[in-house]
Amino acid sequence: MTDITLHSLKVSAAAPEIFLAFAACTILIVALFLPERSRDQISYLLSILTLLATAVLISVQFADSITAAFNRMFVDDAMADTLKIAMCVISAAAFLYSRRYNEERGLFKSEYYVLGLFAVTGMMVMASASHLLTLYLGLELMSLCLYGMIAFYRDDKLAVESAMKYFVLGALASSILLYGMSLLYGLTGSLFLNEIAAYMSTADHGNVGIALAVVFVVVALAFKLGAVPFHMWVPDVYHGAPTSTTAFIGAAPKIAAFAIVMRLLVGGLEELHHMWQQMLIILALLSVAAGNIIAIAQSNFKRMLAYSTISHMGFFLFGILSGSETGYSAAMFYVTVYAVMSLAAFGLILFLATANNESDDLDNLKGLSKRHPWSSLLVLILMLSMAGIPPTAGFFAKLSVIQSLVNAGLVWVAIAAVILAVIGAFYYLRVIKLVYFDEPETDEKIENTTSMTWVLSANVLLIVAVLPWIDSILLLCNAVISQLAL
């Protein structure tokens, strides 16, 4: 055994995570010594600054090549860095949106944001994991913080209930994942993803143990993604959680989910592609079907968006299951676009929410175009993008995923996917109908802070304004995926 030094560990590869975790601890401690009236305010600002600083830090030392650190338990590559930047920026925006909502409900506490920072740390660790233990640690760090952020609204029955539900089902999913991992360890004798991959390339794929391990891993991932039939927690959690937390959960953790799928299924088990592709086809088709059909019946905006998430996760899986570099990069593009759209959707609910109205009822949107024309335009763009209608980024996300399906020879899956997407278009159109075609029920004024309006507008307009540059984003996705050295 060689001497372990900071240099041999290549600690600098994990500098952003270390910085973020350290800053989170500092904020926690500093908050103790701050006067009560400015404490939450300052920790809130510091948290956002920390996230932005982390994003800057990552981009400054953006990885040109793959660095394995901590005895190869942690890997820093272009994909991880890209995803981490997205996570930090998106979470910072989610924090920004949360402010007024949290203030009005007594959730504007320094601890809330510190939990958020730790959750982001967890996601970043997931993105860089090259060892099952690292992967699991990242996942649990994120999940535990998320449970806490939901339960933070402890006076609200729904929130507590959904935190409980999320925790129990999340723990179940984690244990299934652990079981799958232990099977993998038993088979291969290693927890390193690259060694597992090497073993699988020579192994006999008829081995029942391998099949069992893949099934457990896929089921656990489906749980975490919220793919049908493991989706039951999604609507309850999205609906029950305070909207500020839903906005957080709905965005950056999806990117982390992409990371874990890439590391585990693609990085570790790509040789078994033929096995998990079949499972993912079923999961993805069921998700798109059930998500889109059940969403039609919802009267609550948050629940509707939860079912829409399920269907979007199905589309995301279409990219993964194509099993090619184009497929993975399509999935990466899809998940990033989706995270931006989901953030904006919950941001809109937060924008409309008042102290005594959650504004998460769909009827609340009636006649929005007469009450607040600007935000109704934002809803229009957002819903069209979620439905995948050009000229929005949502269309190009769907296009790239469907293209990867067609290229993989799965034309029938592509046809099923687009037919189900038409069903999905209905409930997005219904939202537009409520906003534009119906008469308002109240003429209560809609107001919010200037910063919120600006960031939300930028967030939504990004979906269309990105079109001239969409090429660079797609090329970036292609580049970072091909760098993975699959």
Partner: protein
Amino acid sequence: MEDKLLSILIWLPIVGGAMVLAVGDSRPAIARKLSLGLSIAIFLLSIPLYTGFNALTSDMQFIERSLWIDAFSIYYSLGVDGISMPLILLTTLLTVVVVIAGWEVIQTRVSQYMAAFLMMEGIMIGVFAALDAVLFYVFWEAMLIPMFLIIGIWGGPNRIYATIKFFLYTLLGSLLMLVALLYLNNVSGGSFDILDYHDLPLAMQPQVLIFLAFFAAFAVKVPMFPVHTWLPDAHVEAPTGGSVILAAIMLKMGGYGFLRFNMPITPDASHELAWLMITLSLIAVVYIALIALVQQDMKKLIAYSSISHMGFVTLGMFIFNAQGIEGAMMQMISHGFISGALFLCVGVLYDRLHSREISTYGGVAKPMPVFAAFSVLFAMANSGLPGTSGFVGEFLVILGAFQVNAWFAVIAALTLIFGAAYTLWMVKRVIYGKITSDAVAELEDVNQREIVMLSILAAMVLIVGIWPNPILDVMHVTVDNLLTHVGESKLP
């Protein structure tokens, strides 16, 4: 400017629409004037497309091509040939008419209304000019958005049902087309150039499937029997301007699609499935005409008449001869003028009495003589009277059909009887006869604005009817080229 003409025609209306939107609803007069100015300017700008067009070549002209999305090799690629150029001119002309038509009628959210039409104009020109499959698809789908809003916001009582039906029907067809385009992209080794697909060898089975996928998109748009049911709903509920654009231009996109995609990309499947197309067309011509006969609602009647007339278009295409295709093109253009004009006429009456029921009216000719003159002219054109544009297309298609099978021609010719029956019967009940009520007796005749918009279309109907050569001449070479393409088997 010549080499950027198409881009200007696409983006000027869209940017102009955004400007009109920015004017805001508080200053409707400015929004109206700005839109009229823009639409006239765009029409004038589109004229060089005709004058500068070289009718001796079937190559694409006014080409623009630059890389848009390198990752998928999607190009911003534009160009027109003899098929798309006349349709672009039709679009720019009718947008002027539509802006005039909405002048006083639309009183709520004026700037949004005008902006929607201007943006739609740009998008529709984009559909006709796009030579890249994805660019085409983007315009094709984006077009739904303004129309969805136009029907949903300014439409009639049942507008929400109609607009959502319209959107979903079209979306389903379009998405199947998207899969077909992606499949072609895969087979062609990563090209999205529509013209590349024209030369791509394909086996029979994929050809049939691709044909059916395109069929799903274009048949809904045309609309062909039996996927036509969205059209009467959408037409009845849409505001007058929306109906005009729907009937005059959007339906033509289906026909355009068949000419640009189905026939050259899947020629063998086109021949193989021609029986299906011809049967559906003939059903539309006869059966839908009979449905039109029993309508009580004027807009519905014209909507069914549109479907019946569009049956001629698809019939003309799938008999694979020059008369047929040129007839189909002429029918599309002429139907753009006539159906647009008929919807405007109904709109004129509706603005006065707020009823589209035939039974509300009777003897309109007495209080509104000028209006009656226009209506009778357009009704005659709709029945295919020689000397009007309606005659040219129908005559050419019937002529072409005779060369293939006399029965096709005989059945198709029935429309001359049915068309005359339902149109003239409606005219008889609405325009002539005794004045049925005091409200009708007090009707005011068309004002100057209405005379202007109706005269533009009346002039076009007569000019094209008497002297169609300027339009036929620009499409001859392109149509011949298309026919050679369709005649060559692509089976490997």
